[in-house]
C-alpha cells in the first residue's frame, strides 16, 4: 500500500467517524421531538387551549398555564432586556478594559452558570418570604435575573464586533458619545443583540426551578401578578408526576407546546437573522415613501 492510498483510507475513516458522531448528536434532538410529538399530539385538542385547569377527570385544559407562561416570559423580558442591554453597553462602551468592567464580565459569566434553583431560592428569601406569598412578581424577578447575564454578554460581544473606525467616524462628525452609541453602534449590532434577546427569552421560558419557589403554580386562570401564577413548566411537572391519566396526557401536551414555543423562537430568530440582510434594503426603500 502506498503512502497516498493509506492517507486516503485514514481520511475516509476519520470523515465517516466524525459524520457518524455528528448524526448521533442531532439524533437526540429528533428523538426528543419524536417522543414529544408521539405523546403530545394525542393530548392536543381545542380544549387544551380554551379550558383552564380542572380536577382530574373533568376535561380541563392548559389555557391558564399558557397565559401564565406568556405573562412571566414577557414580564421577565421587559425587566431583563433593558438592564442587560444597558449593562452590556456600559461594559463595552464605557468600562472597556477597566478592572470594574472585567469584574462585571466575570460575575455575569458566573451568574450564567449559577444553578437556577439557587436563583429561585434567593428570590424566595427576598420577595416571597417577607411578603408572605408566592406571586407573579417574584417569578418575573427570578426569570429576569437569569436573563440579564445572557443579554449582557451577547450585547457586550455584539458591540465588540462593531469596528472602532465607525465609532471614530461618528465622533469625528461631532456626535456626542451617547448618540454615537445609539445611532451607529446599536445599529451595527442590531441583529446580534436581537438574537441575544430571543435566545435569552428561549432560555428562561424553559425554566422550572426558579419558578417553584416564586410564582409557584396555580390551577386557575390568573393575571394578577400579586398572586401565584401558573406556568407550563411547573404545570408540566405537577401533571406528569400525578397518578391521573388525563393529567399525564395534558403534561405531555404542555411539554409539546413549550418545546414548540422555544424551538419556534429559535428558528424565527435564525430566519430573521438570515433574511435581515436581504429585506433591509426593501424596508429602507419603503421608509422613504
Amino acid at each position: 500500500m502506498t503512502a497516498s492510498t493509506k492517507r486516503k483510507i485514514i481520511n475516509k475513516f476519520i470523515l465517516s467517524l466524525s459524520t457518524l458522531f455528528a448524526i448521533i448528536g442531532v439524533a437526540f434532538l429528533f428523538w426528543i421531538l419524536f417522543i414529544l410529538l408521539k405523546n403530545g399530539l394525542s393530548a392536543l385538542s381545542l380544549n387544551m387551549f380554551i379550558e383552564d385547569g380542572a380536577p382530574p377527570g373533568s376535561d380541563g385544559g392548559l389555557r391558564h398555564a399558557m397565559v401564565g407562561q406568556l405573562i412571566l416570559a414577557i414580564g421577565a423580558t421587559l425587566v431583563g432586556v433593558p438592564i442587560g442591554i444597558l449593562a452590556g453597553t456600559f461594559v463595552r462602551e464605557y468600562g472597556k478594559k477597566s478592572p470594574f468592567a472585567d469584574l462585571i464580565r466575570d460575575l455575569s459569566d458566573i451568574m450564567m452558570s449559577a444553578p437556577s434553583i439557587v436563583i429561585g431560592t434567593f428570590v424566595y428569601a427576598l420577595l416571597v418570604a417577607p411578603t408572605g406569598g408566592f406571586s407573579g412578581y417574584a417569578g418575573i424577578t427570578a426569570l429576569a435575573i437569569m436573563m440579564v447575564p445572557i443579554i449582557l454578554r451577547t450585547t457586550d460581544d455584539m458591540l465588540g464586533l462593531v469596528p472602532n473606525s465607525l465609532r471614530e467616524a461618528a465622533i469625528a462628525l461631532g456626535a456626542p458619545k451617547y448618540k454615537m452609541i445609539k445611532d451607529v453602534v446599536y445599529r451595527g449590532a442590531k441583529v446580534g443583540i436581537l438574537t441575544g434577546i430571543l435566545l435569552g427569552i428561549a432560555r428562561v421560558a424553559g425554566e422550572t426551578a426558579p419558578l417553584l419557589f416564586t410564582s409557584f403554580n396555580s390551577n386557575f386562570f390568573e393575571t394578577d401578578l400579586a398572586e401565584p401564577i401558573a406556568s407550563l413548566t411547573v404545570t408540566m411537572f405537577n401533571y406528569a408526576t400525578s397518578p391521573y391519566e388525563d393529567w399525564q396526557s395534558l403534561g405531555w401536551g404542555a411539554a409539546l407546546v413549550l418545546a414548540g414555543f422555544v424551538l419556534g423562537l429559535n428558528i424565527l430568530g435564525r430566519i430573521w437573522l438570515s433574511l435581515n440582510h436581504i429585506t433591509r434594503k426593501k424596508i429602507l426603500k419603503k421608509r422613504k415613501r
Binding site: E168, A175, K190, L284
Partner: protein, 261 residues
C-alpha cells in the same frame, strides 16, 4: 533641528512645540513638532510607518480623546485659540474640523441617512433643507450622479471607492473649515484613487486640507505643502515642489530618494 520654511499664506492651524504621548507609553510619540497649516491649501504629512504622521493628524481634531490616558503637550492654535485646552468644546471643534479615515466608514444606514447624519446631529429636521443639503454634499463628493436614483439603498451596497466618496460627502455636508484625510486611498484601487485625488484638489477652494499619505507621488500630485516626519519628529516642512526637488535636510533627501521607508 527641523527645517521649517516660512510661508507666505494665511494660517488656519498652527502647531507649536507639540508633543503627544499615548496612554501607557513611557515616551512621547510626537516630539516638539511645530508647523503651520495654510488656509485653503493641501498640506501633506509624509514619512515612514511609525513616524507619527497619523498621530499628529488625529491630534488636530482631538479624536485621541476617545481613548483614555492619551496626553497632549504644547499648543495647536486654531484662530488664535489653543484647541488642546481642557475645556475645549470638542463637539464644536469636530464639526469645524472633519475627518476621513483610511478605510471607508459608511454607517449601517442608507446613503441618504449617512450624509444627513451630521446635519441631523446639528438639529436640521426640515425635510426640504435636508434633501437640498444632502444632494449638494453628494455633488461635492462627486457621487451624486452614481447614486441619485438609489439614495435610500443601504450604504453597504456601494463599492469601496464610492463609500469613501460617501464619507467625504458626509464630512463636507456639515461645511467644515478643515478636512483631515488619513491615508484615504490606501484601501482603494487606482481608478478610485484618482477620483478621490481630483476631489481633494477641487475641495480646497472651500476647505483647508491636511492629508497623511504613504504615497509620495500622491503627495506630489495633490499637495501645496509637505511635512516630512521621522521617528516622531518633524524633519522638514516647506513647499511641496521644494521638498521633492531640493530639500535642505539629508534625511528628507534619503527618504524622497527611496533610501529607506
Amino acid at each position: 533641528m527641523a527645517t521649517v520654511d516660512k510661508i507666505n499664506e494665511e494660517i488656519d492651524l498652527e502647531v507649536k512645540n507639540f508633543s503627544f504621548r499615548y496612554a501607557g507609553s513611557e515616551t512621547n510619540s510626537l516630539k516638539n513638532v511645530s508647523l503651520p497649516i495654510a488656509k485653503n491649501k493641501v498640506t501633506a504629512l509624509i514619512g515612514p510607518s511609525g513616524c507619527g504622521k497619523t498621530t499628529l493628524l488625529r491630534s488636530l481634531n482631538r479624536i485621541h480623546d476617545l481613548y483614555h490616558g492619551n496626553k497632549y503637550f504644547g499648543e495647536i492654535k486654531f484662530e488664535g485659540h489653543n484647541i488642546l485646552e481642557e475645556d475645549e468644546d470638542l463637539i464644536h471643534l469636530r464639526i469645524r474640523i472633519g475627518m476621513i479615515f483610511q478605510k471607508p466608514t459608511a454607517f449601517p444606514m442608507s446613503i441618504y441617512d449617512n450624509v444627513a447624519y451630521g446635519l441631523r446631529l446639528q438639529g436640521v429636521k426640515d425635510h426640504k433643507t435636508l434633501d437640498i443639503k444632502v444632494a449638494e454634499a453628494l455633488k461635492g463628493g462627486a457621487l451624486f450622479d452614481e447614486v441619485k436614483n438609489r439614495l435610500h439603498d443601504d450604504a453597504d451596497s456601494l463599492s469601496g471607492g464610492q463609500q469613501q466618496r460617501l464619507c467625504i460627502a458626509r464630512a463636507i455636508a456639515v461645511e467644515p473649515e478643515i478636512l483631515l484625510f488619513d491615508e484615504p486611498t490606501s484601501a482603494l484601487d487606482p481608478i478610485s484613487t484618482i477620483a478621490i485625488e481630483s476631489l481633494i484638489k477641487s475641495l480646497k477652494d472651500k476647505v483647508t486640507i491636511v492629508i497623511v499619505t504613504h504615497n509620495m507621488q500622491q503627495a506630489q500630485r495633490i499637495s501645496d505643502y509637505t511635512a516630512f516626519m521621522y521617528l516622531g519628529e518633524l524633519i522638514e516642512f516647506g513647499k511641496t515642489s521644494k521638498i521633492f526637488s531640493n530639500p535642505d535636510e539629508d534625511l528628507t533627501k534619503q527618504y524622497i530618494g527611496g533610501k529607506f521607508g
